[in-house]
Amino acid sequence: PAGPGGVAVPRAGLKKLALPPDYSGITFPEKPKLKFMDKVPAVPKVRREPRRLRDIRGPSQVATDFTQGQYGILALGGGYLHWGHFEMIRLTIGRSIDPKSMFAVWRVPAPYKSVTRKSLGHRMGGGKGPIDHYVTAVKSGRLVVEVGGRCEFEEVRPFLARVAQKLPFPAVPVSRESLWEMRREEEERRLNNQNPWTFERVVASNMLGMRKYLSPYDLRLKGRYWGKFFLKHRV
């Protein structure tokens, strides 16, 4: 800041002593590190199951809120996680956290859905291929892992962001406060939208016969989801 005469006046104000963060209400699980997830479930499936891509579509109804930890990775799109992803998450987070003061918890089950692949170079036909590997389905809005303990969001965010980037769907690291803030902002946008025409309204009353071009699922998805993608900018 410049003082009178253009001379720079150095300013050092009073030091504001902030209290250290309070970690009193945190309970640690027995094993602070992430559990090892199997490639194949203990009872492998005999019957080959249909593809059922609807387990990727739409918003998630499970694991949308925090249980034990304070920070986590939120999925912003649908996708399948296979064993390689699980190992990557487990090892990266295991390398980055300090097991004495931090812990991490899975919020997705081990791979349970069998995925079949036909061998390469064969023509169509000949029945369904054999089971190749197992995957876990993740819908948008679901938490993948949770991290907690005596740590701040700024310490945890770098490695969670690295993990989130490597996932097959778009994901972001979140904390309890940031997730609440995200939801609040979404709600605010929905309420102060100046556009009198909303997707929901048009679909529900089938204005201009729009439902010919839309799916019955759009009644529930309300234009925010398209396939496995989550359209964040839409209200």
Partner: protein, 258 residues
């Protein structure tokens, strides 16, 4: 092949007022959920373009409105303690000198403190942002312009400006800006003049002497007449005695009738 889904029956329960299409488009090859971004029907694109989010636009943009500085500025207990210390210092000292303080080595600061302490002058460091509100509310309002840059306060319960100036003359990094001595605000020249004044006892003696000058003169004034007469007679007697000794007047003539 092309599939036609009949959705009329299932949909009628949900929204009885609207009509539902008898045929739903299921001609294209890929399924609903794909790995790639499935191309949308143009009508759907138009609908999404129509139903986009429009943010509220107030008549006066918020950047034109006066910006409120964050209120609810909790006053630290620490700030309150510091303010109390400043008030205490100001109350208990007769002389308060404000000096500009440039960076000095630590040992120089200690030496300065030591020499000033010998004359019972205390060196105080206070933050401007703490001192300014205290001064604004007390009677030292006119000292506010001095508290701009880095400064120190030299406070003392006695007014020994001469020793203070002598010590400060040897320290080039500390420059006297102004002082408040006995509720009188003095500038640098004023402090120097004050230092050149004689000490209190001498000036008191001088005042007493000046006041009692007239009364001491009264007695001498009253006695001036008779004293003058006495002096004249003494002179006359001395002259007569000298004249009598020189001419040896006869004893008969000395008793002259007049």
């Amino acid at each position: 092949g092309a599939g036609a889904g009949v959705g009329a029956g299932a949909g009628a329960e949900r929204c009885p007022a609207a009509w539902l299409p008898a045929l739903q488009l299921l001609r294209r090859g890929s399924k609903a959920v794909t790995r790639h971004w499935k191309a949308m029907h143009f009508q759907r694109q138009k609908l999404l373009a129509l139903t986009e989010y429009l943010p509220p636009r107030p008549a006066v943009p918020p950047r034109c409105l006066p910006r409120h500085t964050p209120e609810g500025h909790q006053e630290d207990g620490y700030v309150r303690v510091l303010r109390r210390q400043v008030e205490e210092t100001l109350r208990s000292s007769r002389m308060v000198a404000v000096c500009q303080y440039n960076s000095m080595a630590d040992e120089d600061v200690v030496t300065l403190r030591h020499f000033l302490r010998k004359h019972n002058i205390h060196v105080k460091f206070f933050l401007n942002e703490v001192v300014r509100p205290v001064l604004a509310q007390s009677k030292y309002r006119n000292l506010l312009p001095l508290f701009v840059c880095r400064n120190i306060l030299l406070v003392s319960p006695e007014t020994r400006a001469r020793e203070m100036l002598r010590v400060l003359k040897g320290v080039p990094q500390v420059n006297l800006l102004g002082a408040c001595i006995d509720d009188t605000i003095l500038s640098r020249q004023g402090v120097e003049n004050f230092a050149r004044l004689p000490p209190l006892e001498a000036s008191q003696g001088q005042t007493v002497a000046a006041l009692s000058l007239l009364s001491s003169q009264t007695s001498s004034l009253l006695q001036q007449g008779p004293a003058h007469l006495t002096a004249l007679l003494d002179e006359h007697i001395r002259q007569l005695r000298e004249a009598g000794e020189s001419t040896e007047p006869p004893p008969g003539q000395s008793t002259a009738n007049d």
